[in-house]
């Protein structure tokens, strides 16, 4: 608990500091490799910050992580290998896209399950209601209704609009 305040302070400072994240000095010479690095960075979270990617943050740790990504890319890793390498060091917490594993199954399935349930519930409600509705008029009934309506156009005496 004692550790928390400094961490919060750091986070607040990071939020406040001019967030010029990727520094020119960090960038790779090869534009294709740099583009891949940027792409990977956008999916990795700076672990000491509030919901910032390592690309956006200028916390020292984010700086280290950015360099790490570029180091691995220079060493010839594939994107997947780079991410695996970072996850091995910092845990699943760095992944802004949560992995598909038993404790996140619920997270991934929930949106679609909820939609299916919502649709089912609402439409069954509609069905029940339209079943409860009276059947449409028969031809004979419609003729009689028309007759009534035409008669109603000449209001009987004493029922003027009040």
């Amino acid at each position: 608990m004692k550790l928390l305040k400094p961490i919060l302070a750091v986070c607040l400072f990071v939020m406040a500091a001019p967030a010029l994240a990727v520094e020119p000095s960090e960038m790779l010479r090869d534009p294709a490799l740099e583009a891949r690095a940027r792409d990977i960075s956008e999916h990795l979270r700076c672990v000491v910050c509030q919901n910032q990617t390592i690309d956006d943050s200028n916390a020292p740790l984010a700086h280290d992580m950015r360099l790490l990504v570029r180091e691995r890319l220079m060493a010839g890793d594939s994107d997947r290998q780079v991410i695996d390498y970072i996850v091995a060091r910092y845990g699943d917490f760095v992944l802004l896209r949560p992995p598909w594993q038993p404790d996140t199954w619920a997270l991934w399935i929930a949106p679609f399950a909820i939609f299916a349930l919502a649709l089912l519930g609402l439409f069954s409600q509609v069905r029940r209601r339209s079943e409860a509705a009276p059947p449409p008029l028969s031809a004979d009934e419609r003729r009689r209704l028309n007759q009534l309506l035409t008669n109603a156009k000449q209001p009987p005496p004493g029922t003027g609009v009040s």
Binding site: P18, T53, A110
Partner: protein, 660 residues
């Protein structure tokens, strides 16, 4: 002396809120007009006393009375008056006082403008508003006293967080709170309907103006927040799926669903129970939004423990409001009759789909926001849920809502065919397809998904315009006749048109600015230049200067085509000594085609400054769209308010005429 008056006024407001809760309820049960009338009096008196308290705090900030603790920790004599005043709500205690003030404002408007609401209903609405007031006033008085004194008083205060010293963020919280707290009226109307055992079209007519008002404010508040993030945080983003942002998005989504279902209730007396349920849940989410931001629970579960008293108190309020509301709903909702039948392809059917999708989208944001917390509590590995998650879940859920919102308004109530609805959208479809094709060609077919997004946006905009076109028989009737029809159209129709048009604009802006943004980070020193987005960008100078309470490094960048300077950008870095904080002030040149954005970074060891440049095509459409959506809501609101008063007057006349 003034802080004590404020504190005393708060205590009086609490007493009045208690009476405002109890008396009108008894009055409504016994049909006692005098007891019911206390609802009106109480609501207005509560506004007066909370207003006095808020004024006292504001005065303390204005005169920099550092013997008041929140002033000492959140203000500084060097701040300009406007930010000393904005500091009133730039802290926990003050912002909760603002919350209560807005609650009182809404209560008083129900009392003053809601004259046409049946008296028992109004009494119950005001009693519920009173009860919410009791909870939050108690929270203020017992856990977050804004008038706590310091002895000895410091000579100087700590200053307002520099990030908050900005017009965007000074006005963002009041707008957001007007939205959050505005939904308390929806909640109160729902509770009153459940107590009354009656919810019909008239209820919807009375409740909808307040729901609309809340929605308009929330829309504006969220837009201001994202605009602020865009130019103040300095890396050119406007939405981060941050828990705090999600907390405001959730009630907005549910409020949007509520707006639409209340419309069905008003026109067709269907969706009655569903509308009441949404009213309760939307306010719950507003409370959750308040809770999330105020307790700090989402930074980490552990942050919650830093100040558990407040967190537990808000959690308790949340539990009582949501639990109580839902319990009442479970007990009473079945007594409410459900409305007219309709087939699946109909205006009602389309709105069911709209509601199902929006509610699911909201649930997705909810789960995405709170799942990491749950995982952490269960003690497994910590996980993060960020933008890539929402891109895979939220976006596909919202896409059909966007595609369908063009079709829904074209369908008839009760029963229609899809072909019938689509037939009215011929030229909207052509416009959409053309726009998609053009953007595909212009961008060299690199981003087909974005082209689809643009097609969708134009389809929505064209469809909203064609709502009016159809109604005023443009091209079919003589020009004068069309004009006459256009002037005679109810404001609520224009409300729908503008709100949907705004969504189209917003979507186009989001898609274009995300898919076709250009960025360049480089280091420059005065005299040096580089190429960016077709411009020659030259750093002309970097100068230092001082503002009222900060030191600034200000750079001037010229953007030119060839010889002619097209425009200058002046990104700044500011250092606020009283808080020892650095902020960026990005400089943005904005027009309908694109935003050109520059931010200034640190000076490197080589003496050069880091400069970050962005070009965001159509970015201004995001906020323009939000503003037009809000305008649409406001139009519907004014139209609805008028029909609420006239319709009730009419039904009162009818009732008087038919009664023996």
């Amino acid at each position: 002396m003034i802080p004590e008056i404020g504190r005393f006024a708060l205590i009086l407001a609490l007493m009045i809120a208690l009476a405002q809760t109890i008396l009108p309820l008894i009055g409504a049960a016994r049909r006692d007009a005098r007891a019911m009338a206390f609802g009106d009096v109480g609501a207005i008196a509560q506004l007066f006393f909370v207003g006095v308290a808020f004024g006292c705090l504001m005065i303390s900030f204005a005169v920099s009375d550092f013997s008041v603790e929140v002033v000492a920790t959140n203000s500084h004599t060097s701040q300009p008056l406007i930010y000393r005043l904005a500091g009133t709500w730039g802290n926990h205690e003050g912002s909760m006082l603002l919350w209560v003030l807005i609650l009182a404002v809404f209560g008083a408007t129900v009392a003053l403008l809601g004259r046409t609401i049946p008296s028992t209903m109004r009494a119950r609405v005001l009693a519920t508003q009173g009860l919410i007031g009791v909870g939050f006033l108690a929270f203020l008085i017992f856990t977050s006293n804004p008038f706590a004194r310091l002895d000895p008083a410091p000579l100087q205060g700590n200053g307002l967080n520099p990030l908050l010293q900005d017009p965007g963020l000074a006005s963002h919280p009041p707008m957001l709170y007007l939205g959050y707290v505005g939904f308390s009226t929806a909640f109160s109307f729902a509770v009153a309907a459940l107590l009354e055992g009656r919810a019909d079209a008239a209820w919807a007519r009375h409740a909808r103006p307040w729901i609309l008002a809340a929605w308009v404010f929330l829309t504006t508040g969220i837009a201001l927040g994202s605009l602020w993030a865009y130019y103040e945080l300095g890396w050119g983003g406007w939405w981060f799926w941050d828990p705090v942002e999600n907390a405001s998005l959730m009630p907005w989504l549910l409020g949007t669903a509520l707006l639409h279902s209340a419309l069905v209730m008003e026109r067709r007396e269907s969706f009655v129970r569903w509308t009441l349920l949404l009213s309760i849940l939307t306010f719950s989410l507003s409370l959750i939004g308040t809770f999330v931001v105020r307790s700090g629970v989402l930074t980490s579960v552990h942050a919650f423990a830093v100040d558990p008293q407040r967190g537990v108190f808000i959690l308790l309020l949340l539990g009582v409001a949501t639990g109580g509301g839902l319990l009442l709903y479970a007990l009473r909702a079945n007594n409410l009759r459900s409305g007219a039948p309709f087939s699946i392809v109909s205006r009602e059917g389309s709105l069911i789909l709209n509601n199902a999708l929006i509610v699911t989208a909201m649930a997705t944001v909810f789960i995405g926001t709170f799942y990491p917390l749950l995982i952490e509590l269960l003690g497994s590995d910590r996980i993060s849920v960020g933008a890539p998650f929402y891109a895979l879940t939220f976006v596909p859920l919202v896409a059909p809502v966007l595609a369908g919102m063009a079709v829904g308004p074209m369908l008839k109530w009760r029963s229609d065919t899809l072909a019938n609805g689509l037939r009215k959208l011929g030229w909207a479809a052509i416009a959409g397809a053309l726009a998609g094709l053009i953007s595909l060609v212009l961008t060299g077919a690199r981003t087909p998904v974005a082209a689809v997004g643009i097609a969708l946006a134009v389809w929505i905009m064209a469809a909203s315009v064609s709502i009016v076109a159809k109604r005023i028989r443009i091209g079919k009737a003589p020009w004068l006749e069309s004009t006459r029809l256009a002037l005679a159209l109810p404001r609520t129709v224009y409300g729908v048109v503008f709100a949907h048009l705004g969504v189209g604009l917003l979507l186009a802006g989001l898609v274009a600015a995300n898919a076709w943004k250009q960025e360049l980070t480089s280091s420059l020193q005065p005299g040096e230049s580089l190429r960016f987005a077709g411009y020659d960008v030259q750093m002309l100078s970097v100068t230092t200067g001082t503002g009222s309470n900060y030191e600034a490094e200000r750079s001037v960048l010229s953007f030119s085509h060839g010889e002619d300077i097209a425009f200058l950008l002046t990104p700044e870095r500011r250092f606020y000594p009283d808080r020892e904080m650095q902020t960026t002030e990005a400089s943005v040149r904005s027009n309908l085609v694109a935003n050109t954005y520059a931010a200034l970074g640190e000076r490197g060891d080589d003496g050069k400054w880091t400069v970050r440049l962005y070009r965001h095509p159509l970015a201004i459409w995001i906020w323009l769209g939000a503003a037009i959506m809000a305008l649409g809501g406001a139009l519907s609101w004014s139209g609805g308010l008028r029909s609420a008063t006239t319709a009730s007057a009419k039904s009162a006349v009818m009732a008087a005429a038919t009664s023996p």
